[in-house]
C-alpha cells in the first residue's frame, strides 16, 4: 500500500517555491501550471484510473468557472461559498452526463464523442444565454481581499491552487488504496470480467465521473477567481478539454503524480516554443499535439510509466543475474 508521504514531500517542496521565487511572471507561470495540473487530475480519475476517455472535460471546468462568477456578479453571493457551489455544480453536471452515457452503455470512441458533444452544447448555450453575459462574458469585480477570494500577492494565489492540487493528489492516492479504486481499475482493464466478479460497473463509473468532474470544476472556479473573466470560449472551449486530457496522458495516466508531471512538461515546452519561435497563435498547441503523438508512440504509459518501466526492467535484470 502506498502512503501519502510522497505527496506531503512534493507539496512541501512546491510550497517553498514562492519563498525563493519572487518574479511575478514566474509565479504566474507556476499558478497556471498547477491549475492545468488540477484540471488534468480530474480527467485522470475518470480517464487514467477508469479508462473512460472524455474529450469534453471543459464541460465541468466551464461550469465551475461560470457558476462561481455568476453567483458573485448577479446574486451577490460571497466568493467562498460561490467556489464550493461551483464545485458542486460541476459534480452535478458530471453525474448527469455520466448517468446518461453509462446507462446507455457508451464506451470508447462513442463516449469520447458524446462528451465532446455535451461540451459543445454548453458552449453554444453559454454564448447566447443572457445569464452568462452571452458573447460578452462575465467579469468579476476586482476586490483584493481574502474575503472575496482575491489576493494582491500572486504567492497567495499560488498557495491556494497548491492546496487544491494537494487535496486532489490525496484523493487519487485514497482511490488507489480502496475497494472503489480496485473496482475502477478492473473496469478499465476489462469491464466484462469485472462485472463477472461482482463489480457494479455503472455505479463505479458514475462515481468516478462525479469525482472527476468535481476536481476539474474546482480548477474552473479557481480560474474565475484568478483571471476575473469568463466567456464561453474560455469556459467550454476545446482548449481546456485538450489540456485536461493531455497532462495525464503525457505525465502518466492512472498515477497520482502523472498530471502534475505532465503539466510541468507541457507548460515548459510551451514556454520554450514561444521563446524560440515567438508568441504566435497556435504554436503551443502544435507542440502539444506532436508531444501527444510521440508519447503514445514511444511512451504509452507516460513519462512516469517510462521511469517505472525502466526501473522494473532493471529489477528483473538484477533478479535474473542473481538466479542465473
Amino acid at each position: 500500500m502506498k502512503g501519502i508521504a510522497p505527496i506531503l514531500l512534493v507539496v512541501a517542496v512546491l510550497a517553498a517555491v514562492p519563498l525563493v521565487v519572487h518574479s511575478n511572471t514566474a509565479l504566474n507561470f507556476l499558478v497556471i501550471t498547477l491549475l492545468t495540473a488540477l484540471a488534468g487530475q480530474g480527467w485522470n480519475i475518470l480517464g487514467g484510473y477508469g479508462g473512460q476517455y472524455s474529450f469534453g472535460h471543459a464541460a465541468f471546468f466551464g461550469t465551475g468557472a461560470y457558476v462561481t462568477a455568476i453567483l458573485q456578479v448577479r446574486y451577490g453571493v460571497n466568493a467562498w461559498p460561490g467556489f464550493a457551489i461551483g464545485i458542486a455544480a460541476g459534480a452535478l453536471v458530471g453525474a448527469i452526463i455520466g448517468a446518461l452515457t453509462f446507462r446507455a452503455g457508451l464506451r470508447g470512441s462513442y463516449f469520447a464523442l458524446v462528451t465532446l458533444a455535451f461540451a459543445e452544447v454548453l458552449r453554444i448555450l453559454a454564448s447566447v444565454a443572457p445569464v452568462t453575459g452571452a458573447g460578452v462574458g462575465t467579469l468579476i469585480k476586482l476586490d483584493l481581499h481574502a474575503s472575496a477570494l482575491q489576493f494582491e500577492s500572486r504567492a497567495v494565489f499560488y498557495w491556494v491552487i497548491l492546496v487544491l492540487l494537494a487535496v486532489s493528489l490525496v484523493i487519487a492516492r485514497t482511490i488507489e488504496n480502496t475497494r472503489f479504486g480496485a473496482w475502477l481499475i478492473a473496469v478499465r482493464e476489462n469491464e466484462d470480467a469485472a462485472r463477472a466478479l461482482g463489480v457494479d460497473a455503472f455505479k463505479v463509473k458514475l462515481g468516478a465521473m462525479t469525482i472527476s468532474a468535481a476536481i476539474t470544476a474546482a480548477a474552473g472556479c479557481f480560474y474565475a477567481q484568478y483571471f476575473l473573466f469568463v466567456d464561453s470560449g474560455i469556459a467550454y472551449g476545446t482548449r481546456m478539454s485538450i489540456e485536461a486530457l493531455l497532462t495525464p496522458i503525457i505525465g502518466g495516466a492512472g498515477t497520482v503524480f502523472g498530471p502534475l508531471v505532465g503539466a510541468l512538461v507541457v507548460k515548459a515546452l510551451g514556454e520554450v516554443a514561444t521563446y524560440v519561435a515567438g508568441d504566435a497563435p497556435g504554436l503551443n498547441l502544435i507542440v502539444y499535439g506532436c508531444v501527444l503523438v510521440l508519447v503514445i508512440a514511444f511512451a504509452p504509459r507516460g513519462l512516469i510509466g517510462l521511469v517505472t518501466g525502466a526501473g522494473r526492467r532493471l529489477a528483473r535484470g538484477k533478479r535474473e543475474v542473481a538466479h542465473g
Binding site: M1, W183, D192, A193, L197
Partner: protein, 248 residues
C-alpha cells in the same frame, strides 16, 4: 431431493434469425460437478452467458437457490454466489497476479487489507503462491487459467461456471489442474463445466448434458452419454454411430 441449486427451464435465445439456444432445460445439483459438452457452435458459451447474466433470454427462466434470477444483472448474480470464468482468458493486464485476485476478493471484503489476505489464500490454493507479485501478463497459458480460476474463487461462489478451463493446456498441465478442480467440489462448491477435453470432463463430472445446435440432445451419467447414438452423431456426423457399432 431438494430443488437443484441452479434450475434452467426452457431457456431460448435468438440472434437475428439464428436460434442459438432453443428451449434448454438443465440443472446443477448442489455439491456436484455437472458437465456441459457438445460440438463447436452448439450454444454452450451462449448458455453460460445467459446463466451469468451477460445476455438476456428471449424466453424461459433461471432459478438459483429457489429464487428467479432471470432479469438480475451480472454483478448481482455474482453477489448471490454465481461466478464464471471466460473461454478466452483476459487477466487485468497492468496488474500483478495478487492484484487481479484482490478484485474478486473485494466482493466479500471491504477493507483492502482483508482482501489482500484473502487473495493470498486463494492464490496459494490454485497453485500460484510463488507468483503473486508477478505482472499477470507474464504468466503462461496454464498460469492464466489458474488466475482466472483464482479470481472467480475469491468471490466465494456457491456455483462456479467453468468455460473450457482446460483449453490450451498440455496433458501435464491438465493432470495438474484437475485435482484442483476436484478439491473445489470437495469443498462444497457446485461446478458446471463446459469442456472439450473428453477424458477430463468424463472423469470429473457426475452428470452430463449434451448440447447440439442449441438443444439438449442427451443427459445422464458419463458412461451413458458416451454410448448414446445421438451424441456420437452430433460429434462425428450422420451415420457415424452405425459405423462405430454403437448401441442405440
Amino acid at each position: 431431493m431438494a430443488e437443484s441449486l441452479l434450475a434452467v427451464s426452457n431457456l431460448t435465445r435468438r440472434f437475428g434469425g439464428l436460434l442459438a439456444v432453443d428451449g434448454v432445460s438443465i440443472a446443477a445439483d448442489e455439491g456436484r460437478i455437472t458437465g456441459l459438452i457438445g460440438p463447436n457452435g452448439a450454444g454452450k458459451t451462449t448458455l453460460f452467458g445467459l446463466i451469468s447474466g451477460f445476455i438476456p433470454p428471449n424466453e424461459g427462466d433461471i432459478r438459483y437457490e429457489g429464487e428467479t434470477i432471470t432479469r438480475l444483472p451480472t454483478h448481482e448474480r455474482a453477489r448471490l454466489g454465481i461466478a464464471r470464468t471466460f473461454q478466452i482468458v483476459q487477466p487485468f493486464a497492468g496488474l500483478t497476479v495478487r492484484e487481479n485476485i484482490v478484485v474478486g476478493a473485494h466482493l466479500r471484503h471491504r477493507s483492502r487489507a482483508d482482501a489482500l489476505a484473502a487473495a493470498d489464500v486463494v492464490g496459494r490454493e490454485v497453485g500460484l503462491g510463488g507468483m503473486l507479485d508477478r505482472p499477470a501478463d507474464t504468466l503462461t497459458v496454464a498460469g492464466r487459467k489458474r488466475l482466472e480460476l483464482a479470481r472467480a474463487l475469491a468471490t466465494e461462489p456457491k456455483l462456479l461456471l467453468l468455460d473450457e478451463v482446460l483449453a490450451g493446456l498440455n496433458p501435464t498441465e491438465i493432470r495438474e489442474i484437475v485435482p484442483v478442480i476436484r478439491k473445489l467440489c470437495d469443498r462444497g462448491i457446485t461446478i458446471m463445466m463446459i469442456e472439450h477435453v473428453m477424458q477430463a470432463v468424463m472423469s470429473l463430472s457426475e452428470h452430463i448434458f449434451v448440447l447440439a445446435e442449441g438443444r439438449i440432445i442427451a443427459e445422464g451419467a458419463p458412461a451413458q452419454v458416451a454410448a448414446d447414438r445421438g451424441v456420437i452423431e452430433a460429434y462425428l456426423g450422420h451415420g457415424a454411430a452405425k459405423k462405430f457399432g454403437a448401441q442405440a
